[in-house]
């Protein structure tokens, strides 16, 4: 067992985030009601420090290096994802305090859980072996369960947390079982590279394939791909609004990071990708089903949170198109998925930030009709929300448009995916229809009752940053595309 302290420093951003989580947890003991919001700022500081550490690492990460017997890896993809998680955490920590205070459940543990969850996500992004993947996923998920149920007096919150926890536990069962099967059939391989080396032989036994798909099923649960999406609408609706944004963006991004990594390395062998039993086919079918169901179900929702929950399922479908494209050999698919996740994180956090902003203790204003007249009374917020909704719908000049454009461009490199792309754009039209329902309410209708939003300087600042970022990603996407990774043609 060799241990080199430099290995630790390669994971400094993750350590900072988790360490800051511990600090927040300790500080909570001494916090009073007035000073409690300072805990969120501690968390924000942690995120910023982690971002700085991440920036310092960027140059060295051009070459991927593995540590701890091939269990963890540092490369550009994991750092790009780390940055995405940090964005999600940072924005959640800015949006949450006013909301929590208004609804009367501000606890320091909440902020600590956001940080622990972020640490878990980073672990997933860096995981290059089964053990680390499991630890990462569990850390992230446990934090998400707790956050979902953190509004203890609210029945929906508890219900959502319960459903999320039960189904999540079930998924973890699949994950561990699958890992055991793969471990057994590959003769005790734990790291992805070791598994990949054994694949030509191990893939001859069906048991290995069972193991492979059990693992994938667990990950599909986490991204809420159809037909493993049942928990998502309830959990998303029940969770406190800032948590919903954090889950919909962060947890999803992390799970997709895990999927990309495991499919690319452990199961990247053409033996496992193509043919009838290959994962490419299955991902294609899941992508189609997810895009269709997510977007069609969203059409009928009256509750904005639930609407965005279904739309978030639809977005998982688009990202799966990118995953399928990666399997079929499209060079730009991975950067496209990474860019999509980054853009989606900004957009989703921003839109849930507005949802958290608009309500107050008496009246959460979660229905589409409650948004009537916002464009006249609060033009700036309405404009920001419009930018987010257009970005979700994939309308230029927003990040969401460029992300979809980039993703579909990657998918069109393989002729097998033409029909999927056409399906993707058609479901996008459907999605624009329901996103515009909110825009219609905001701009084209008269308000039903006076507005009393949960206003706070932090929320306003975060909304400005987010809206600006979404536009930046749409108008000058170049640098972010380049950071997502070099790609060369087939």
């Amino acid at each position: 067992m060799n241990f080199d302290s430099s290995q630790i420093f390669a994971y400094l951003p993750m350590l900072i985030v988790i360490g800051m989580g511990c600090v927040v947890l300790l500080a909570e003991t001494f916090a009073t009601a007035a000073s409690r919001s300072g805990l969120a700022w501690l968390g924000v500081g942690g995120c910023i420090a982690a971002s700085v550490a991440l920036g310092l690492q960027w140059g060295d990460a051009a070459q991927a290096t593995t540590h701890f017997q091939g269990m963890l890896i540092v490369d550009r993809m994991s750092l790009y994802l780390d940055a995405t998680f940090l964005v999600a955490a940072l924005l959640t920590l800015l949006f949450a305090p006013p909301y929590l205070r208004e609804q009367g459940f501000e606890f320091g543990e909440f902020y600590a859980m956001v940080l622990f969850g972020t640490g878990g996500m980073m672990m997933v992004a860096h995981a290059a072996g089964f053990v680390t993947l499991l630890i990462g996923i569990e850390t992230m998920s446990l934090a998400a369960y707790v956050l979902t149920g953190s509004w203890r007096r609210n029945l929906r919150s508890s219900e959502g947390a319960m459903k999320y926890f039960l189904i999540g536990a079930f998924a973890t069962g699949f994950l561990v079982y699958g890992m055991a099967l793969v471990y057994g059939t590959t003769g005790g391989a734990l790291s992805y590279t070791a598994i990949a080396a054994k694949v030509p032989e191990a893939s001859k036994t069906p048991v290995f394939l069972f193991g492979e798909y059990f693992i994938l099923i667990a990950l599909f649960f986490k991204v809420a791909a159809v037909p493993f999406h049942m928990w998502a609408p309830d959990a998303y609706e029940g969770a406190p609004t800032p948590v919903t944004g954090f889950m919909a963006a962060g947890v999803k991004a992390a799970a997709f990071g895990g999927i990309l990594r495991i499919l690319e390395t452990a199961f990247g062998n053409p033996l496992l990708v193509f043919d009838f039993t290959g994962w490419a086919n299955i991902v294609v079918v899941l992508a189609a089903a997810t895009m269709l169901l997510g977007n069609l179900a969203a059409l009928r929702q009256e509750n904005v949170k639930r609407l965005l929950a279904y739309s978030s399922i639809g977005h998982a479908g688009y990202i799966l198109v990118g995953v399928a494209a990666m399997g079929l050999g499209s060079a730009s698919a991975k950067p496209a998925v990474l860019f999509y996740l980054l853009s989606y994180t900004f957009t989703t956090l921003g839109s849930f930030g507005v949802i958290a902003w608009i309500g107050n203790r008496q009246d959460e204003r979660l229905f589409v009709d409650d948004w009537a007249g916002l464009g006249a009374s609060r033009p700036a917020v309405a404009l920001a929300m419009t930018v987010f909704l257009l970005s979700l719908g994939g309308v230029p000049p927003t990040g969401g448009f460029f992300a979809k454009f980039f993703l579909f461009k990657a998918a069109l490199e393989s002729p097998q995916l033409y029909w999927l792309v056409v399906l993707g754009v058609l479901t996008s039209v459907v999605s624009v229809f329901y996103y515009l329902r909110i825009v219609v309410a905001m701009y084209f209708r008269e308000p039903l009752r006076p507005l009393a939003p949960t206003d706070a300087a932090a929320t306003r600042a975060a909304l400005v940053i987010t809206a600006f970022a979404v536009l930046l990603l749409g108008i000058f996407p170049g640098p972010f595309v380049d950071l997502a990774g070099p790609f060369v043609g087939k």
């Binding site: 069109l412 996008s428 219609v440």
Partner: protein, 531 residues
């Protein structure tokens, strides 16, 4: 930065400036809006002076790297086809903003209206000038959002329905076009190893028949919805009737031209085989649209709906002109686009003014207005006659050239072997579409008669509120009439500047067609660059 980049970005700068002024200062907002539009128009006149009519290719190009790794460039350029459409855009926008009725009857949120109009202008100019398919698509969609808000916020009773219908129709077409653009990009990459969205590069790509047909259909759907070509026109009457006057003017005057412009710019040179195969079908649909739109216009009681259906009819003529695939027909189509922009823009402004005075658009509520508001009535008559196609006014030239081109297409089509089996087609189409001249006289003059002639027997029409045009309105209608007269009496400057580009496009199309037919089995390959 070249003049093209300036005129694209000027309206955006004006929009940002408008947003910075507090909400209450409505006069300042209107001032900034009008000022920006006028400056943009004056700047666009520089294009005219710098434009070299003897060249067929693109001029005054601007080319800046946007996203290097994906081969996206901010590439703008102008040729004889887009030149007049850009000028039409920059001309109509200040005229519209000058009209006091532009915002419609819901005279609220002036700032937002000005911002929407200016963003719309930037989108339109950018889309006409874009020579990079990505840039084209971005501007194409950028037009959609402000128009959606213009209909949705300042529109009439059923504005929600109309605005969402407009968006969904347009998006279905444009997103499939996006897929086709991405497909071309992938094919270009496969053939050359380079990443490029550049129009000038992608137009050199030669595809086999089947992919050409699919791409053509994807592009054509987007364009046919915009035109709108029968039977995809159903969004248009709704959108026009609900939109405020300014929205209708820009929608009919400029936005519809994107469909026909797209056919000329993209569909023809990029997919010659598919164009040849589809030309008779589209020509027939266009003629159906001409007659159907005219008949629908004739039975309308709502003046605005009447003008909207007349657009369906007149734009059908433009599509017909393009798909004759002859020099005269195409030049006629370009001229007709311009003429339709001026005359229909004028008609919508006129109907908007009538609505402002009388708060109704129902033809039965009018009658005898000439006695009450003679100056406006005379102005409106000139615009109506321009739209009907009276010689000496703008509508005549385009209509005449298109019909001439369609008739001449008979020989052209025999010579090039087009539409093999059914040769009398162009002549039949000419005869049927020539009826549009009579039909448009019928419905427009009937409208004229019901509004302005007859006895002044309705008490509401004698109301002192029914004032003749005054103030800025004089300018609006004066400018429109001068434009209609000038282009009608002396069309040569317009035709001569589009001539080279059209003949260049046509010879390119024919050369590609010949080459593709000579090697039907050829895999995707790249044609050499044009000399």
């Amino acid at each position: 930065m070249g003049v093209l980049a300036w005129i694209t970005l000027l309206p955006l700068a004006g929009a940002v400036l408008t947003m910075l002024v507090p909400r209450e200062e409505e006069a300042i907002h209107r001032g900034i809006g009008l000022g920006t539009a006028i400056i943009t128009f004056l700047a666009s006149l520089f294009i005219l002076s710098d434009f070299d009519a003897s060249k067929a290719g693109f001029q005054l190009e601007v080319d800046k790297v946007w996203v290097e790794s994906l081969g996206i460039h901010f590439h703008l350029g102008i040729d004889g086809i887009s030149l007049w459409l850009v000028l039409l855009t920059t001309f109509l926008m200040p005229v519209t903003l000058l009209a006091p009725q532009a915002i419609g009857t819901r005279n609220v949120r002036v700032r937002d209206f000005v911002v929407a109009m200016l963003v719309l202008e930037a989108g339109m100019i950018g889309a006409f000038l874009a020579l990079d398919m990505f840039v084209f698509y971005v501007f194409w969609e950028l037009m959609l959002i402000p128009m959606y808000f213009i209909i949705g916020i300042w529109g009439g009773e059923r504005r929600l329905y109309a605005s969402i219908k407009f968006v969904i129709y347009t998006l279905v077409g444009s997103l499939l076009m996006l897929v086709a653009i991405l497909y071309l990009y992938a094919q270009y990459h496969a053939a050359t190893g380079a990443f490029s969205f550049d129009y000038v590069s992608l137009v050199r790509l030669s595809l086999p028949f089947e992919p050409q047909l699919l791409c053509f259909l994807a592009f054509a759907l987007a364009f046919a919805i915009k035109v709108p070509l029968f039977p995809l026109h159903t969004w248009l009457p709704d959108a026009h009737v609900e939109a405020p006057t300014g929205g209708s003017v820009i929608l009919a005057g400029v936005l519809l031209k994107f469909g026909t412009y797209g056919f000329l710019r993209f569909a023809l040179p990029m997919f010659p085989l598919a164009t040849e195969a589809m030309a008779p079908t589209i020509a027939v649909l266009a003629v159906i649209g001409i007659v159907f739109g005219a008949l629908m216009a004739y039975v309308q009681d709502d003046a605005k709906k009447l003008v909207a259906y007349s657009s369906v009819s007149h734009m059908g003529l433009v599509v017909l002109g393009i798909f004759t695939l002859t020099q005269i027909g195409m030049q006629g189509a370009i001229f007709q686009m311009l003429a339709h922009g001026i005359s229909t823009g004028g008609l919508f402004l006129g109907v908007g003014l009538l609505y402002d005075r009388r708060h109704t658009r129902n033809l039965a509520d009018f009658g005898g207005l000439w006695k009450r508001i003679p100056v406006f009535s005379a102005c409106f008559l000139v615009i109506v006659l321009a739209s009907v196609g009276l010689p000496g006014l703008c509508g005549f030239v385009g209509e005449f050239l298109v019909l001439l081109g369609t008739f001449g297409a008979h020989n052209e089509w025999i010579r090039s072997g087009l539409a093999g089996g059914f040769l009398p087609l162009p002549r039949i189409l000419t005869i049927v579409s020539a009826s549009s001249v009579i039909l448009s006289a019928m419905y427009l003059l009937t409208m004229m008669q019901r509004i302005f002639f007859g006895p002044l027997d309705k008490p509401e029409n004698r109301d002192p509120h029914v004032r003749d045009i005054h103030g800025r309105e004089r300018w609006v209608f004066g400018i429109i009439i001068v434009a209609a007269l000038a282009t009608g009496i002396y069309p040569q400057p317009i035709l001569s500047r589009s001539e080279k580009s059209v003949s260049g496009l046509l010879s390119l199309f024919q050369a590609r067609l010949k080459d593709a037919k000579a090697n039907p089995e050829a895999t995707p390959h790249i044609y050499p660059a044009n000399p």
